[in-house]
Amino acid sequence: MKTAETQTVHLIDDDDSLRTALARVLSAAGYEVGSYASVAEFLLARRGELRGCVVLDVRMPGGPSGLELQKALVQQGETLPVIFLTGHGDIPMGIQAMKDGAFDFLTKPVERDSLLCAVAAALAKEEASRQQAMQRRKLAARADRLTRAEREVFRRVVGGHPNKRIAADLGCSERTVKAHRAQVMSKMGASSLADLVHFSTLLAQAGRDALPPA
């Protein structure tokens, strides 16, 4: 876990006084606060990889709406969690936001505890998914270094097949299979069969084939 000082909350609300008040609560709680009056302002200010979480009013007059931003972030594969603020009559919009992958939605006026809890949970989730994404990228790079024969063996090993059957499947000797298997373990940095199975699951979650097609 990182410390609170370095974590950023991006706050987007067109109402100046509400935004200022919420920013005060968040910075009093020790967060770095990025304050924006519109989605467009937020997108313009964006530099490189986004970190932290977004707190956003569902209702935004003019320009892209909160829901649109949320969709765009999800489509770009950003891991940034979005917490929506909704007014009294906007519950259906909040529900829609949740369906579209929002992290949470809070109704205004927002109690301090619910705001801080939601923000803390969102940041924790962002941290975890960032770590996972990093690991996935590492694994994918390793998997790219496997030869065609090693991939075939990898796929069958994590499928639970014994060496003998793999050798029969691939039409080679059991000794060759063992050699490939040792190569796979070392290239992927796995110390046990359990590690290897876990890696293949992570790769599958990354949206790519556990092993690139041979």
Partner: protein, 745 residues
Amino acid sequence: MPNVLLSTVRLLIWGLAVLAVPAGLAREVEPPRLLVLFSNDRLLPANQKYDEGLREALEPQEGQPAVSFFAEFLDAIRLGGEEGEDAVERYLSERYHRLPPDAIVALGQQALIFLLERRDTLFAETPLLFGGVGKEHVAEIRNTAGVAGLPMDFSVALAVEGLLEMRPETQEILLVHGSSDFDRSWRELAARQCAAFADRARITFLPELPIPELKTRLGGLPERTAVVYLTYFQSPTGETYTPAHVAKELASVSAVPVMGPYDTYMGTGLLGVSASPFKDDGILLGKMVRRVLSGESPESIGIHPPSPLRLVLDDRQMQRWGIQSIPAAAEIRYRAPTLWEKHRSAVVAALVVVSVQTLLILGLVASRLRQKRTERELRFSEALFSGVFRGSPAAISIVRRSDGRIVDVNPGWETVTGVSRPEAIGRTPLELGMEIGGDAESRFREFLESGKSLDSYEQVHRTADGRTRILSLSAELHTLRDEPCYVVVAKDVTELREMEDAHRQIVHTSRLAMLGEMTASIAHEINQPLGAILSNTDAAEMLLERPVPPLDEMRAILSDIRRDDRRASEVIQRVRALAGRREVPYADFDLNGLLHEMADMVGHDARRRGVALVREFADGLPPVHGDAVQIQQVVLNLLLNAMDAMEDTPVAARQVVIRSGRGKKGTVEVGVADCGPGIPPEGIGRIFDSFYTTKKDGMGLGLSLARSIAEAHGGSIFAENNASKGATFSLILPEGSPLSDDEDR
């Protein structure tokens, strides 16, 4: 120098002449004389409009003498030139020698120049006013003695701007003008005015062409071009024209829209003009003339700024060119009636025709069925009946009362129902599957037994091909071949009702949407500052927990809290102002009169729904003191509710009774009783609450409003179920007292 001498001499002569004639006496009874000199000929539309305005402003008023008008025409384009003008000068000085004008008006540039140039010899001392002259031409005469006037702004800039706004795709604008000096003077003016649009469209002048060639050119113009027509007094070959007539000829053949700079071009087929109306200017100048005639010096009046230009568009032409976006400042003329307006009048006309036919048919049927007739009369009426019966487009059926079977139908009935005559005869409407609803059979039987007649009762029917139609039924019982039979005339009012429903639906939904939107926006506007206050308080608490709380920040927070609190209470005040009641002075009114009016108002609706309205009004009631319009609203609401409540009641039993009478202790009472299902037990306590309703598309506001109105009048309203069936709503109002008017003061 010689000029000065000359005018001094003339002044002397002038003075002598005044002395010589006992003018003071004579002029008291003589109206002042105004000479108007027009630049062009008599029939130029601009001249006529300007003249109209002038005369309107100078019409005799109280304390103001009538003005004697003299009009002369320079006809500068046809008869101009130095020689022509010399002739006019001689003519004017001779003609007005004996009755010199008290003021002169020059209309148009040429007339003004003519009079100014010859001012030394012609009407030298007479005040000169001018109008209809381009503002560019008056700069140098601003300080001329004895001259006042109202220049005009002639500009195509507004027209070009409007054109580009309506048709942004326009790439080229062609300017068209004739060959007279005046026509050509437009060229430079228009070029200067159009310069501002050079980056949006190419501005091109068409060469000077005779009318036939010009028409061919305009007829073959490609898309994305437009024409600005300036003036065309003269062709290159010397024929003279009236510009507005040329406008009409050009607009009728042009393949693209044409705009222009004169009000008089409106209605000739041009898309629009940028102009200030000649007649309005005429009125303004007329007022200036009036001031001069009553003794003010022209210098003190001076030269006024021109009236502002307006963009005026022709609605018919906008439709011709398919124009959707209308420039905000434009004034629209010749607006065509909307489709709905046209349609409605057509439907109403058709309804009147059908109603007249229905009455005619019922009358004829009645006469046909009257027994004691001579043979000849009978035969005649039978022939007439069968002629009308067969030939009428209305659907007529004859149904036996005893068993409900159809005796005969006419071709109109066959068309409306889709059932042929042989199929229909001997069957009941039920057997033909025309009646809809589970209780159709019992309703039909009840109706037959009741022997009542129907007048425009509406019912949904099914046709042979399964469509449902709304029929308006009128039925009367007659004896036909010794048997009681119903003669039923039906007219198909489906389209009319659908149209009405659609209209009502639109009104209803837009009202609902407005209400919902308003509530949401008020909630949002209050919620925002409340949210800010809460968060600011939270932040302040958190900051206070620090070892050294930042005082500046705390102060900022407190001032923000105060500001947001004010913001929230302002919203509330705005809402209260919006919902605030209008104070209407109360007055005495006759309760029975009001009830009669309301019963008449719903009479048509009641007949349509088959509801009998019974009035039981007590005589000699004291007047009621209050706001009659509000009480009307309450009564109307109760009557409509009562009818709505009987939607599922058999037609024969639908009845609403309106009563009036004295109540307890100085009150009067209005009762409205229906025969519907009554108020459900769980509703009896809540029926006057806001947003409580038993109707499927009701808002639940009518009765709650009725209660507020009753209470504001010092009265009350309550509901109870009747002993037999249905419910009665009673409105209690205090009697008006002779003193009440004083109490209000």
